[in-house]
Point group: C2
Amino acid sequence: MKFKEKVSHLECDTCARRFAPQEVELTCPDCGPDLGTLTVRYHYDKIKAVLTPEALAGNREPSHWRYLDILPVSGRPESLHPRVGWTPLYHLPKLGLGNLWIKDDGVNPSASFKDRASSVGVARAVEEKRAVITAASTGNAASSVSLFAACAKMRAVIFVPETAPQAKVAQLLIFGAEVLAVRGTYDQAFDLCLQTALERGWYCRNTAVNPYLGEGKKTAALEICEQLGFDPPDRVFVSVGDGCIIGGLWKGFCDFKKLGLIDRLPRLYGVQAAGSAPLVKAFEKGEKVAAPLRQASTCADSICVGQPRDHIKALRAVYESGGGMLAVEDDEILAAMRDLARRAGIFAEPAGAAGFAGLCRLVSEGGIDPQERVVVLVTGNGLKDVQTAISAVDRKPVPVDANVEAVRSVLK
Amino acid sequence: MKFKEKVSHLECDTCARRFAPQEVELTCPDCGPDLGTLTVRYHYDKIKAVLTPEALAGNREPSHWRYLDILPVSGRPESLHPRVGWTPLYHLPKLGLGNLWIKDDGVNPSASFKDRASSVGVARAVEEKRAVITAASTGNAASSVSLFAACAKMRAVIFVPETAPQAKVAQLLIFGAEVLAVRGTYDQAFDLCLQTALERGWYCRNTAVNPYLGEGKKTAALEICEQLGFDPPDRVFVSVGDGCIIGGLWKGFCDFKKLGLIDRLPRLYGVQAAGSAPLVKAFEKGEKVAAPLRQASTCADSICVGQPRDHIKALRAVYESGGGMLAVEDDEILAAMRDLARRAGIFAEPAGAAGFAGLCRLVSEGGIDPQERVVVLVTGNGLKDVQTAISAVDRKPVPVDANVEAVRSVLK
């Protein structure tokens, strides 16, 4: 189906005003970029006829493009070949939970969850015939969009805070993106990017303000449902920075429910680092919007966000689902990294392990019944930030001379 | 099928003497560890009856365990859950070649091809009820075996040269391995590891001397055949250090031909870095064994090997297949990294890109017909060695103050 046969309209997250897709550039003109983020609505009845369990079972494509029927693009541009999504969902009974699954999104092409959104974003930019795509990012979204822009032969201009980890910057450069290292925070880089995009007519991949990106992110929820035989879990845990991933997941579960593919919805839990937890604060006060922090600080660079741009969708996800927002200390994140690696064989970046840290916290507080079915999403590969991984481990290599006596005495 | 129903015998690569699997620890006692590497032979007739295209088409498991019928283990231990193999094979017409495919093995669980061998090695160690597994490695094999040992709750002791890249060492530590950083070369680390394994009865994952590891590596060849509809390519290019990967690939193609699943064999091309090319030297002289170099040097750490441990199988692969061994300069490897990233969206580590560099060399020399069907194997993810990636790029981030005028003046 073509885009316009599938997409019905865009809907403002605050005033609920409806827009035809071509009517609006990014956000609701009345509510602005902070409150006026938009949600994509589809012609669900039409899609229901084609997106069935049987159709999916017959579709061998092991990528998130298996859900093209409910994605806001007419087709998958051939140039966007890298295999995104359909990531493994490992059944790993742990923590006293008999039904725990961990979904490893670190095995995506650029080694993070963000490839789901970037691939859809670049596909939209291709369909809109844009020459340049731009993004602000703590790193993962940027490296991801750079990868897909390279495939589509599209110019990419990326705004990163100058503190972004080297591995992520290396990815940007090798993919040929132009990188502006902003002497400031991620929040400042975001505003500069948005303003530049509007000034120059560049396609803006910034999360939250571009309604189509969350549609890419929702595919993880669709996969969880399909991989569990359309029997959704009771709870889902995921790390939260801007709030786009949890918002996207909720959209995915709700879309599948509207299509009749699942008959109930899971409770979603967003996990923030204690030093960067504006959404947790808002949740604890029962508020629908988050007040920005003056300063955010955590070892988990991907969720070090003072002003969560997708706060409305994120908070709605936890309120509507009956879930919650939790804060964990950096030490708990590092412990979760060790535990995921040593017990599950998954090397996660700090933000990637934060969702698991949140689950551990809730279990230790007795907040989960051992019978519940729980999914934790790992959002990025540990190779993205090796320095923090090294700080997470309690052992070091043992230097040894190159002879067998030296080895014997070390091993003793 | 159980191991002993499938595996017929082990055969010495030099004297062709046959051994029952339980008769021998690692290599042929007559020919020794350098010349007496062994090849695993199966009861092909029995396997032929079960391993058919129809059986494979019906097997939805998207991992290399789909080939369990022709792997030297009785079953896949449940603890070894990480999804290895069934990596994407991208059709990317480039370099004037209409039929070029690139297989990206950087998306394996530990981000390298070595997971194929390590998963089979640890599965064997589990079946043999070993308590400790050990390996010497330039990095990738070590991080890979550490991952699977962690899953199997097996102690892992790893010998690395002290120069191994930090990202790879970080992986070892986070997976809980004990790491000995040998003040010496990879070649010395290899010998120390082998001797320690034999002294202590530890399971030795060292490539070449353990005949079962190549069986894991062969699965990439099996996947290439299946992914191309059992119509094998004309040529396959892959980087070569110890020579195990190319030896394993050849074994895979030959096994599939013995099973009647393909009717012809591709020509295999091994690509070494010019500063570390003992197999190229041997090939140019028409020799069946490689003389060790005094010193090896290249930016591609994974193939920086002076004494290629699997020289016999590697040279046999190129002689028997009618392929060859090529050397490329480090500059060509760095150019291949840029090209793979910017045109194919694949971020490869230097050794991972060397196979592609070899293909570029052969194309530039007019050595390939544009109609030929060519596969290039990318063996590891660029995140494994970010420093070299940065040295490969011709641009740097542009620092910019956090205000819109500064951005405008930089973008101009």
